[in-house]
Symmetry: C2
Subunit: 256 residues, 2 copies
């Protein structure tokens, strides 16, 4: 058995999820919290390698003893979140804990993930939203929302997404299946929501940057199809900043 924890975090102050030599990471904080809580070194394994500055509303990680790769603890499951949180900073929260089979892998067993990219399309700044949104102060077309939603819809399907992959990524197979993709308004924000069986490096951020080109009229919604066929990163828009990106949901095959 392993412990599966569900968490949320604000990525602003971290160099991404995965442990690295220079810089504070979510995984490092979880490792330290697990050691303090259980009293022995643990392996914490996450569902995704979120980039520096990217947030997660929903994130899953497994926790097990480093030596036995197993974990059953005496703390009742419902107490685990509070116990973990006592050893974590305010910008990371464990929400739930349950036991899963030792064969469960939080990353390889993911069936699909949903990301949201939040954008603020207006001249005025919103300091309270700044940590979570990309502020786009330059003019966009009056029907920007409809144009972006039309363009986003064209990302759906099983395709080669090389156009939306950061240059220099070492991925053998750039084919992914996008299950849903849309743009909608929530208060003063425009939200790009995309669900897929997997994502290439910087894929959502490059798509968001491209949608803003569509919003400004520098690209047409229907050009997304030829853009993807070209498999050329140069033709897509810029990579949108990490602050706007949130891992929104993670779907596992049943049973979890």
């Amino acid at each position: 058995m392993k412990l599966l924890i569900e968490l949320s975090y604000v990525g602003t102050n971290y160099c991404g999820y995965q442990v690295q030599q220079n810089g504070d990471t979510i995984q490092q904080r979880l490792n330290e919290a697990a050691l303090s809580l259980f009293g022995f070194p643990c392996d914490v394994s996450g569902c995704s390698r979120t980039d520096s500055g990217v947030h997660a509303r929903t994130y899953f990680a497994t926790v097990c003893r480093k030596d036995t790769q197993n974990l059953e603890c005496s703390i009742p499951l419902f107490r685990i979140p509070m116990a973990f949180n006592a050893h974590l900073p305010d910008d990371i929260a464990v929400r739930r804990a349950l036991y899963v089979d030792s064969s469960f892998h939080p990353r390889y067993d993911v069936r699909s993930k949903t990301y949201r990219y939040r954008m603020l399309l207006k001249r005025e700044r919103e300091p309270f939203l700044a940590p979570y949104c990309w502020h786009v102060p330059y003019p966009t077309l009056p029907d920007a929302e409809q144009r972006m939603d039309r363009a986003a819809g064209l990302f759906c399907g099983k395709r080669d997404f090389s156009t939306f992959m950061a240059k220099g990524s070492k991925i053998e197979d750039p084919v992914r299946t996008v299950l849903s993709s849309r743009v909608f308004r929530e208060d003063c924000e425009l939200i790009f929501e995309i669900c897929a069986d997997g994502f290439l490096y910087h894929m959502v951020r490059i798509m968001a940057g491209t949608l803003i080109e569509v919003a400004c009229g520098r690209m047409e919604p229907q050009s997304m199809t030829s853009l993807m066929e070209a498999r050329d990163r140069e033709l897509a828009g810029p990579t949108a900043p990490p602050c706007g990106l949130t891992l929104w949901d993670v779907q596992y095959g049943s049973p979890t």
Copy 2:
């Protein structure tokens, strides 16, 4: 003439509004932005001395030349906010600018100010709200919201608020007039909103700390009256943390 600017800021990264020797402040940033924008040293004078870590949704400051105490500039008024913001970090935003008479004082001419104190009364953390809310994870009574609102209502009126003033404050007259005071729910937050002609040092934060005592049943709503009559800081609740406090609105006598 002087320039009056309306702004918003997130106080998390600042040691309050007012310039001080050790630490970054909002006023310091505005001074620097004004110098960059106009090319001469300016006096920036604010409507309130918000504490370290306190936010402002609405804040007013006047800007004038240091030497002449006047300012009329060649930039059209509607361009001033964008021009200022180009010299300010993302957590400070100038929203509007207008000219006011040289005799106008952004602090002494305030008729009333409204503060909001945001609280999250549940076990679970909310990392995305953490910068703006006080998280109260311990148990409160089922009718906490109604109890807090009843207690808050008793703050209304012209009274000596010494009970809700930080010890050691050098205030000659601790009498203030509270024009409205209530607690209401907004999504998962409870909000304490208070409007008064002036506030004593830490007044809203001590009131918020006291309302949480009422929420937990350690104090009764109706005890607020005797609490205020006692004029004893020791009898009130703890000082709530600054992150939950936002200067929400500032009312001037007409015409502004």
